[in-house]
Symmetry: C2
């Protein structure tokens, strides 16, 4: 079987000095440099492939410090603390002497304890009944996902909407081509929600995520059951002020289970 573009793009190799080497990929190119979800996933892979890892990711924060240029970069992984229930990791991604991203990840041992989901996904028609977002000719990374609109679309405009529109949207999302879901792809999909400023204003502006935090609520068994079926994604935002806005997202899988939730802080100038 051929390797999926995601797995080709997020390959890393161990260097003699203990760091990992990664390379940007045209398949996941964004406006300038790679899609942030690629960066998140390749950072996560450096932990996933680490010989001292004992459990799966539960919490993951990535900070985007500087634009990553096309080419090679190095990842430093540090196991800060390894205990019975959790492992704490710190990561740095460096290119040409500049720290382009930092990250912290917590892996956590899971057991069969009290389980309860208080949140509920929104009502949505099945994926097949929802219109597919056209991504051909747009940014490369958008073509690596299939989006099907449930509610809320960006209404592009030549000038900002006179009244800000809703920052909320709901869609089905899956890897394209299909790929069985794992923590790596979930970490990337967590960043596929287009920046909320576009929904609210309708115009392109200088903007970019500065920090992203994702929590993984799912176990490996649930991921296996999800396979390559689309996830139901919901994203919104609360406040746009003084060059920064938040946004939050939830990703729902089979049986209405919440697989991941997360927040971003976005810089903008508009």
């Amino acid at each position: 079987m051929n390797k999926h573009p995601f797995d080709i793009a997020t390959q890393i190799r161990l260097l003699d000095d203990g760091r990992f080497r990664g390379t940007t990929s045209p398949a996941y190119a964004n406006m300038a440099g790679p899609f942030g979800g690629f960066t998140a996933a390749i950072l996560m892979r450096a932990v996933i492939e680490h010989p001292e890892r004992t459990a799966n990711p539960v919490a993951f924060t990535v900070n985007f410090c500087a634009a990553l240029k096309d080419g090679n970069f190095n990842i430093t992984v540090k196991l800060q603390r390894s205990a019975k229930y959790t492992q704490h990791w710190s990561l740095e991604l460096e290119q040409n002497g500049i720290v382009c991203a930092t990250a912290t990840m917590i892996c956590g041992a899971r057991a069969d304890v009290f389980s309860h989901q208080s949140g509920e996904p929104p009502q949505a028609p099945p994926p097949e009944a929802c219109e597919e977002m056209k991504t051909a000719g747009a940014l490369n990374w958008l073509s690596r996902y299939k989006f099907r609109t449930v509610d809320g679309t960006i209404e592009f405009s030549s000038k900002p909407h006179s009244e800000p529109k809703s920052p909320r949207n709901i869609h089905w999302v899956s890897d394209h081509p299909e790929r069985p879901l794992d923590y790596l792809s979930l970490a990337a999909i967590a960043d596929t929600f287009i920046l909320r400023l576009l929904y609210v204003r309708g115009t392109i502006a200088p903007m970019g995520t500065v920090s992203m935090t994702t929590y993984f609520h799912t176990t490996g068994e649930e991921l296996a059951r999800q396979g390559s079926e689309p996830l139901l994604g919901v994203a919104t935002a609360e406040r746009f002020h003084g060059n920064f806005h938040d946004q939050s997202m939830t990703l729902w899988g089979k049986d209405n289970l919440l697989l991941a939730s997360g927040t971003q802080l976005v810089w903008y100038k508009a």
Copy 2:
């Protein structure tokens, strides 16, 4: 004027090796070791007092790696990247050779650009009309805050509720004694929302926050206008599964402005 207990507790001093020295305080003691909000605030102070800082905090993630014991600890601060619009900081808190917490903070330059608040606070009677939570005799740190219930309380029980209750609560919160709000106190107040498992189950269990992310939506001018007036806080959770649950919170100030929002991942065994 006497110093506020918060400012006494979160004092730090610069060591010869460039690290900062802090000390736990009985005033903010939790079940074992200090209240997490104290740890967050003292970590933030190490950036706030750093001579190279050029802007105020916008995003802050604290990871709790190991229990902090009463006594001294050391904070290492690293400026990872300083650019025109943002500064990225990484922090480590170490005690007796163990990394007890790590953190990343982003400071961001603010300007008078597009401003819009899409989120709204819940309806609530004024603080004076809400019943004050009794905290005397409970954990020390709880007495450092005044909580006034708007909606949702913990219904303690000798055994877990047969049907899980709502994880959501709304309350007014302020420093006690009063203290003008700043980023430091806001970082601590972000952690004053009691762990949601208690709301849902009603019973004490081994539990603790492993990671906390807070976004600051407010400018210094808004903080000055807020002064020491209570904030309206809302917290909820989505999923409790396999030893971890999320929780999210928003903190609203005067004129219905969102001052901060955040998420936590909590470990539990129940």
